[in-house]
């Protein structure tokens, strides 16, 4: 299909400290006991996209990710892992690998996307409109714990994490404006020409940029080259392309652009063209236009470019793992309502207990739970809506609710863990009470302590 896929896997994201560390870069963060990157890769594999470029920030992280991929996907995917320096941003990462891109269109996927929206849908929309960029929008996830959310959690829901202001044309196929909420202080600035051409614009704040883009390669490369200060795809490149869609400064079809003095004229004529192009996309391009545009390169109408949006339907699951809250949400959803993503088959009790896991007497594991292989649980434990990793040793009388416990964790007797994330190799001694905490890898929680809403991590040596 002439698409090349770039997975921007990221590195050690600051927002996810203390969950991520040198040993566990973000792509390998386990979601329902699988690295988060595997969700993207498997979705791509499902779409028959087997040649991937995975870009990782940092050499170490790249090595680890590469090692994991080669182990897990040998013979299934053809993956090249590229390491880029940290903090180059998404645009920088693409710039670094730009010379590897050859296909006509590039599909850029964020490695932290947990979604069942087929990437093909975005690609198809992109192709269909012959767009320069197509982005996938999905409705903003409702974060915070589900039904059982406490009052404190409710407050969190209210606080908008990151919302986008997105302007769409009436058919909801073309992107007319995009800005992330953080940048919008008071006013929106929308070019008049776009408004005039479109006539009507829907502005929505309930959509989220899912970080799945389809770009025209030539355009992407050119933009990256011409604008060396662009740092992020979402914040720089995409708004730039959207802003300039009526007075395109990028070359299309590989033909060099006309000199600048012709620019004014192009704009006005571009408007004319956009009226027929954008406004009524239902309009049939008159066949002579179809024909001629193919034959004489770039007629005036082509001085515009199209920015499309694909809006994932609400029935699809689509969340990015870009915050700690999102991490616990995703863990909950993947073993809960979106359990088709996990790739596991659920037992009759709607949970997954690895056969090698050992449960003590009177221990109950509720629905929407997951228990990794080789984990031992003592007597009279209760687990609800939680994920427990591999080879954990859990004492007796332990309560785990709404939490994520990663691999090789030791829990002493009588612990109570609610709404928390416990990373690998953590040791929690007897009678500890944790509520809404994040415990970094390798930390030791001393016996009898109580924590609420804290983030505990080992000091970096």
């Amino acid at each position: 299909m002439d698409f090349q896929v770039v997975v921007l896997a990221g590195g050690t994201s600051k927002e996810l400290v203390p969950l991520v560390s040198k040993e566990v870069p973000k792509p390998l963060l386990p979601v329902a006991n699988r690295p988060v990157l595997s969700y993207v890769l498997e979705q791509l594999e499902l779409s028959n996209l087997k040649d991937l470029i995975v870009v990782v920030e940092g050499e170490d992280a790249a090595l680890r990710v590469g090692g994991w991929i080669s182990g897990a996907y040998v013979d299934r995917l053809h993956v090249e892992v590229a390491a880029v320096p940290e903090d180059v941003g998404t645009a920088g990462a693409l710039r670094a690998i730009a010379h590897h891109l050859t296909a006509n269109d590039i599909l850029v996927v964020s490695g932290d996307l947990v979604s069942d929206v087929p990437p093909g849908a975005v690609a198809a929309a992109h192709r269909r409109h012959d767009a320069v960029v197509t982005t996938m929008l999905c409705s903003t996830p409702i974060s915070g714990p589900a039904e059982s959310g406490s009052a404190g959690a409710k407050d969190k829901i209210k606080k908008p994490k990151r919302f986008n202001i997105i302007g769409l044309d009436p058919t909801k196929q073309f992107l007319l404006y995009i800005a992330s909420g953080a940048e919008v202080e008071k006013d929106l600035h929308i070019p008049k020409s776009i408004l005039r051409a479109v006539g009507q614009m829907d502005i929505q704040a309930d959509l989220m940029d899912a970080h799945l883009y389809a770009f025209k390669r030539a355009v992407l490369q050119e933009v990256l080259e011409q604008k060396p200060n662009f740092h992020s795809l979402r914040q720089d490149v995409l708004p730039y392309l959207v802003r300039t869609q009526l007075k395109s400064e990028i070359l299309l079809n590989g033909t060099p652009q006309a000199e600048e003095n012709g620019h004014e004229k192009f704009t006005s004529r571009g408007n004319q063209a956009i009226i027929s192009q954008i406004l009524a996309n239902a309009s049939t391009p008159r066949f002579h236009e179809v024909y001629e545009s193919i034959h004489n390169g770039s007629p005036t109408a082509q001085r515009t470019h199209k920015c499309c949006a694909y809006i994932a339907s609400n029935s699809k699951y689509c969340v990015r793992l870009n915050s700690i809250q999102a991490f616990s949400d995703i863990n909950r959803d993947v073993i809960g309502e979106a359990n088709h993503l996990s790739g596991y088959s659920f037992s009759a009790h709607n949970n997954i207990i690895h056969p090698s896991a050992d449960l003590g007497s009177k221990t109950t594991v509720g629905p929407h739970c997951m228990l990794g292989e080789g984990s031992l649980m003592g007597d009279k434990c209760s687990v609800k809506r939680s994920v427990i990793g591999r080879h954990c040793r859990i004492g007796s009388n332990v309560k785990i609710v709404n939490s994520v416990v990663m691999d090789h964790v030791t829990l002493g007797d009588g612990c109570s863990i609610q709404g928390s994330i416990v990373c690998s190799n953590v040791q929690i001694q007897e009678r500890v009470v944790l509520r809404d905490c994040q415990i970094g890898a390798g930390f030791v929680v001393s016996a009898g302590s109580e924590h609420k809403g804290e983030s505990l991590a080992r000091k970096e040596k």
């Binding site: 299909m1 087929p118 929309a125 192709r127 049939t284 066949f287 024909y291």
Partner: protein, 651 residues
């Protein structure tokens, strides 16, 4: 046997000619049946004995198994006539010229041989074939074959007994068919001819009934008559002859299967009838797209495909990357068809040709395959993908036929790159000659019909009409345009925008005001999706209404249509072949969400929505068809079709 049968058998010239096939059927029928058969009063046919053909002198070289009985030599004259009948093909038969039919019938009588059981099977198979004309041709062929061997039996024919004896060898296939009706019903005394004919006819019917075949239905349902080209008709009988040879040797089953296969190959597939469940199931398995059929379809249009619009595009999109064999350019065009981004006959055709052109440029012959074959099949797969996205228009069908033809005619000596360049050039030429240039010619012709002070009416948005109007305006003619539009597509607004933008003075109205506005109109210019050989204009729905009203008001109606859109098909109504659009759009009004009276009602069983895309305008209402070959009356369409075809084939 069948209560229905007797009445049908009652002589009717056409029926009779059908009966012509009877010989095949006759041969096999088991004696029992003949006994049971009620006496039939007929005997129009000459005595069979006379007809008996000598086995040795078999009519066709292909023919067959040595005759069992020695037969009296067939008179040459007779034989000839017979041959003529069979070769002339279905058309001849269809026409049912009495002489031909009788002659053939008599000949047939002579035939019955036991060996024929196989033949019977054939006939049955042919009967099942969906295209009646072709089927009949095939049958004729068979009849001919069978006639050769049998002789003695024939003579006896007049007697029931004899015929029974002949038929004595019941074959499985034959017996089935006959079991239902064949000989028995036949009158003994009749010169067997009639009886046999009848038997055959009945066998045919039985076969039809038995065959789930869409074809049968098609023939019944449809008023459409497909006239196969002469070439085809000739070919079919030949193919059957060969088949017959083989068949004679083999068992019936084998034969049947073979026939099936051959039939598939030789006979053009009838259009899919979507009310035939089994066919639909099969087609679905093949389909790239997952098509969910709409639930509430209008009874009369069940045979047309209709899917839930909503599901098609998302499903296809989500499997975008799995569409491996489809070239990106093709898939893009497919999406555009599906989503309605491209509509309009010319635009769709050009888009498709451009996409195929791109695909050909990127194409390379896989090792061990011949370019001609592989490329043809490749294009076939592309086309079937496009059909799944949206049924092809007639013009696109013509373009594809042209293309395949050109590919098939590629000299084998050409290298791959040369061959590709040739094909690409052919495509370009087609677009240029048949569409672009044709439009220019049409504009040139049509402009002469526009005079100062005219009020021109057009309907919908036809690209060529638009060009005509703009060109006339450029020439400085003073005229006014009435653009008539209709829901749900409101394509007229697009046209209107362009016309107004160029400074033409326009009136815009909807089709419900047509009778009002027609008073002031002096000419009507219409576009067309296709023009059929009986002069019927197949065009966007509503065109017929406009033309009819114009006719009533004595306003000349000119249809502008490029000749590549002509088709030799004959169609009498817009039911048998049409396209169904998304039914939802007719109950929703764009931009007016408050009009939602039908929301939710469509889920009930007592409301069916019908959104037809095309209609057929009878030639009576068309004053003139403006083509690139000039302005012709609708009656001249067949001439152009014939000439054009020739040109297309032998460019």
């Amino acid at each position: 046997m069948d209560p229905r049968r007797p009445p049908r058998t009652v002589p009717d010239p056409k029926v009779r000619h059908v009966g012509f096939f009877a010989p095949g059927a006759d041969a096999p029928p088991p004696p029992d049946r003949s006994n049971s058969a009620p006496p039939d009063p007929l005997s129009s046919s000459p005595p069979a004995a006379a007809h008996l053909t000598p086995p040795g002198t078999s009519i066709s070289p292909v023919m067959i198994p040595p005759p069992r009985h020695s037969a009296a030599p067939l008179s040459p004259r007779r034989r000839d006539s017979f041959i003529v009948g069979s070769y002339s093909g279905k058309r001849f038969l269809d026409v049912g010229s009495p002489t031909a039919s009788t002659a053939s019938a008599t000949d047939d009588w002579a035939l019955p041989t036991s060996a024929d059981s196989a033949w019977v099977g054939d006939t049955v198979g042919a009967g099942a074939s969906s295209l009646p004309p072709v089927g009949s041709a095939a049958m004729i062929a068979k009849g001919l074959a069978s006639s050769v061997p049998a002789t003695a039996g024939l003579t006896a024919v007049s007697n029931v007994h004899r015929s029974a004896g002949v038929s004595g060898k019941p074959s499985g296939a034959a017996s089935k068919v006959q079991g239902d009706k064949p000989k028995q019903s036949k009158p003994l005394k009749e010169k067997t001819t009639k009886a046999e004919r009848r038997a055959l006819q009945e066998a045919q019917r039985a076969a039809k009934a038995a065959a789930k075949g869409v074809g049968g239905k098609a023939s019944v349902h449809m008023s459409e008559v497909v006239l196969a080209s002469d070439v085809e008709s000739v070919e079919v009988p030949k193919a059957h002859f060969q088949r017959n040879d083989i068949a004679a040797v083999n068992e019936k089953k084998v034969i049947d299967r073979q026939l099936e296969k051959d039939r598939k190959k030789d006979v053009p597939q009838p259009r899919m009838q979507y009310d035939d469940k089994s066919r639909v199931e099969k087609a679905k398995k093949r389909a790239v797209l997952k098509q969910t059929e709409a639930r509430n379809r209008v009874e009369l249009f069940r045979h047309l495909p209709q899917y839930e619009r909503g599901t098609l595009l998302p499903d296809l999109q989500s499997r975008f990357f799995q569409l491996d064999p489809v070239h990106p350019a093709i898939s893009k065009v497919g999406f555009q068809y599906l989503s309605g981004d491209i509509s309009g006959s010319n635009a769709r055709c050009i888009a498709m040709l451009q996409a195929i052109r791109e695909a050909i440029i990127d194409y390379s012959v896989p090792p061990g395959k011949a370019l001609v074959r592989d490329l043809t099949s490749k294009i076939g797969s592309y086309v079937s993908f496009l059909i799944e996205c949206r049924p092809l228009s007639i013009s696109m069908g013509n373009a594809i036929r042209y293309l395949k033809n050109r590919i098939a005619k590629l000299p084998l000596t050409l290298s791959e790159s040369e061959a590709k360049a040739t094909v690409v050039a052919d495509i370009d030429r087609f677009i240029h000659d048949k569409i672009i240039l044709a439009d220019k010619m049409i504009v040139k012709h049509a402009v002469t019909k526009i005079r100062d002070g005219d009020v021109l009416l057009t309907y919908g948005s036809s690209s060529v009409v638009e060009m005509i109007l703009l060109h006339a305006h450029e020439l400085g003619k003073q005229f006014r345009v009435v653009v008539v539009d209709s829901r749900p597509k409101l394509e007229g607004q697009l046209l209107l925008r362009k016309l107004v933008g160029k400074g033409l003075s326009c009136t815009y109205t909807h089709i419900n005001a047509i009778s009002y506005i027609m008073h002031e109109v002096s000419r009507v210019f219409l576009g067309a999706s296709s023009v059929l050989s009986n002069g019927t204009v197949y065009s966007r729905v509503g065109t017929a209404c406009v033309a009819m009203v114009a006719h009533t008001f004595h306003v000349p109606v000119m249809v502008c249509c490029e000749t590549y859109k002509f088709h030799e098909r004959v169609q009498l109504d817009s039911i048998c072949s049409n396209e169904l659009g998304d039914p939802d759009v007719i109950c929703k009004v764009r931009g007016r969400d408050e009009i939602n009276f039908l929301d939710g009602w469509t889920n009930g069983n007592n409301l069916q929505l019908l959104n037809l895309i095309y209609d057929a305008t009878p030639s009576d209402y068309v004053s003139m068809i403006i083509t690139d070959y000039g302005m012709v009356p609708p009656t001249s369409v067949p001439v152009i079709v014939r000439e054009y075809r020739k040109e297309q084939l032998w460019i």
